[in-house]
Structures are given as C-alpha cells and as structure tokens.
Amino acid sequence: MSVDRLPTYSVAELNTAIGSLLERGFAPRFLLEATVSRPQLKKGHLWLTLTDGAASISGVVWASKLAQLSYKPEDGDGVTVVGKLNFWAARASLTVQALDIRPSLSTVLRDFERVRQLLEEQGVIDPSRQRRLPSQPSTIAVLTSVPSSALADMLRTAAERWPLTQLIVVPIPVQGAVASKILSTLKGLAERSVDLGIQALVLARGGGSREDLAVFDDEALCRVLARYPVPVVTGLGHEDDLTVADLVADHRAATPTAAIVALLPDRDAARQGLVQRQSRLRDALLGRILRERQRLQDRAFVLQQQSPLERIRRHRQELAQKQLLLQALSPERWLKRGLALVSNASGDAIPDLQSVKIGDQLSIRMSDGTLDARVDQIQRSSPKTTS
C-alpha cells in the first residue's frame, strides 16, 4: 500500500471522522447489561462507570433524564441501560448516554429482600393484620395504568361478575418515575376514601418482567398500603411474581382479573340465592297454613276429650275394667277349682283349726251349694320339720 493512498487527517478531522463513522455505523439505541461502579453526581448529571468485570465504559445520565428515573443506581447495582453512544470529538472520548436505567433482576430481588426483612422486623408485614374483604362493596377504587389490557380485563370481569359495584379508576404510571406519583395518589385517595365511599382498593398491573414490578417493593409505598383506611387487594404481574406490596396487602391475588374475582361477588351465585329465597317465600305461606291446620286439629282433639258424652264413655270404660278386676279376684274362681270355704255358725271364715272345737256346727261352701256339718274329730297336722 502506497503511503500517498493512506488518508491523512488532522487530529480534529480524525476525531470527526470517527464520530461520523460511529453515528452512521452504530445502533442509535441499545440495551447494555452492566454493573454500576463509582456513580457520582456532578452539576446535576450522574456520571458512572459501567462494567462487567472484564471491560468497562463510562456512562452518564443527564440531569433532565435523571429527574424522570424512579430508580437511582448505586455502586455495585446490576442494571440494564437503555443507551446511545456519545462521542466527543474534541477529546475522542466515548460515553454511554443512559436514556433509562432499570435495575437488573438480581438488584430487584436484593431490594425486595431488604425491604421485606425490614418491614417484617417492624411488624408492618404481618398476616394477622390482614382485614376481611367487604362481601358486596358498593364502591371500589382500581389503581392501574390506563389504558391497559389489565384494566380492560378487570372491567370486563367486573361487568360479568357484579355490575352493582361502582368502579373508581385512578390511572397510575407503571413505568418510569412512578413510586412518588403512586405514593402521592394513594395518599390523596386515602384522604378522600370516605367522601368517595370507597370500601376497598385494588392495586393492579398486568404481566411484564419482575423488574417492572420493582416499584411495588418501594418501602414508603408499602408502608402507606399497610395502613390504608380500606382493605387492599393486589393483582400484580404474573402468578409467580411476589412483591412487598403483595405482602402488606389484605389479599394478594395472582393477577388483576383475580383481584376483581376476589373482591366482587358472583352474580350467578346471587341469582341462585334469590331463587332459593323465592321458594322459601312461597313455602312460608303453604308451610304456615299446614302448621296452623295441625294446631287447629290438635285443639279440636283436646276439645272433644272434654265433652260430657266422652267423659261418660271414659267413666264406663273405667268401671268395666274394675269389674273385670273384681271378677278376677273373686273366691268363686277358687270354688270352681274344687276348693271350699269353711265358716262357723256365726258366718265367720275358719282359716285354721285354732277356733274349732268338737261339736261345732260348720258351714262348707262349695261352687254349687253349701254343706252343713258338725265337727266329730280334729286331727291336727304334724308341724313340718325343717332339715
């Protein structure tokens, strides 16, 4: 290659050419996964080094963008940066300009654990503090992003399930600088909950990554939720996602739709309840008439028992029974079986020989007549010996 074919630059020209090449040849936006090192605020801008251990590059978040970020990276945080390259021709310096910085999953989970542990230690997270949800709330507040598929799903479910409940929808940003906005909306709504008649609060966000739910691990936000004036139901992300907000809520639903299902009664079940009441109402009339008829019959019976004819009949029956009893006990029965009744001349019964003397006149009564007899001889039985 000949030397005069080589391009020749001044330093400024070289730097400009590199800048131009980068501008044309490099992606205008890209995602960069890195660990933050030595973040420093200078004149409102956040300067930091982005590294993966083996390589590093400097980065900056301009002050205007920094104000919009809900998350402020700290030294050692794993992050995902939405960035673009900034090349300063004067010093040929290359910097990643961060348009957005989100914590990586490991950072989000580390924060979740930290806040959870803190709030558990302080008793803010305590399952025994969970309140019962109202059974048929007349008004509920739904905090979610508007418009969103999560809201559409919730509105559809509410309309199918229980249209009698008024829904107060309060839009909240769920991405970007949100924690302070949600906090402020939550506080304002809490103050007006009585005026607005709100009986429960739904905090919902549709699916997305766990990192997108990091705002619901915000300590201040979770403290407000924990002492909210009305029961709180969370429906955040997917079924497997767990945030600190879920832990301080009175009920954690797996999804936004499940939050509405947990809070609103089922119209079909209510219809069934009405059908049952309708039949109870009809049975009440028929049942009462039957019961009254039975009462009437009972009284008629009692009355009949007190009539003079019935009393005479009962007396007759008693007499007949006593007659039978007398007959059963009468001595005639013994006479018919061959036994006899012995009496003296005075007519007194002689049960043994003690009062009998030779020459006494006795009367012996049998079943069909009486014998008159005189005692000629007395033979006493020898006393029985006991062995």
């Binding site: 509410a158 409940t165 008024q166 709504l189 009440a284 009462r288 019961r291 009254e292």
Partner: protein
C-alpha cells in the same frame, strides 16, 4: 276457579311498597327480604297478614332481581393528581 283480584287497598299498598323498594340498593333490599323471611318462618306474622307479607317479600325479591339483571356498571375515572373526575369515563 278464577283467581281473586287483590282489593284496591292492597293494590295501592303494593304500589307504595314498590316505590319504597325502588329507593333501596341491593344489600338493603336483600336485608329487608331476609328479615321478612325470618318473621314468616318463625310464625310471628298474624295469619291475616300472611298473604300481604309474602307479597311484600316478593316486591323486595323483584327489586333484587331487577338490580342484578339490569344495572350497568358505573365507572368513574379520576385524575391521579387532582382526584377529580376526568372526561374519559
């Protein structure tokens, strides 16, 4: 057997019940119905008033059914900053 028409007095009374029930929400109408059912089932209603009480219960029942079948959900959207209703709802 022809069904006896309710007397004018009873018709007027039912009209009054319907008008009163129209002012009740679902929970209130349901509560009134349950109260009336409890009275009917413990035989505390005089026999002469039985039929009327059942008709009164049917008015509450009908109010509940109508609310379940015909109510459209009320949705209000509030501005997250002012908490005043927006025009989107």
């Amino acid at each position: 057997m022809s069904k006896r028409q309710p007397s004018k007095e009873l018709r007027d009374r039912m009209e009054r019940w319907r008008s009163d029930a129209a002012g009740l929400n679902y929970e209130e109408a349901m509560q009134a119905l349950d109260l009336l059912l409890a009275e009917l089932q413990n035989d505390s209603v005089p026999l002469a008033e039985l039929q009327q009480q059942v008709l009164h219960g049917e008015v509450y029942l009908s109010r509940c059914q109508s609310l379940l079948d015909n109510v459209e959900q009320s949705i209000v959207e509030l501005d997250p900053t002012t908490l005043e209703p927006t025009n989107n709802a």
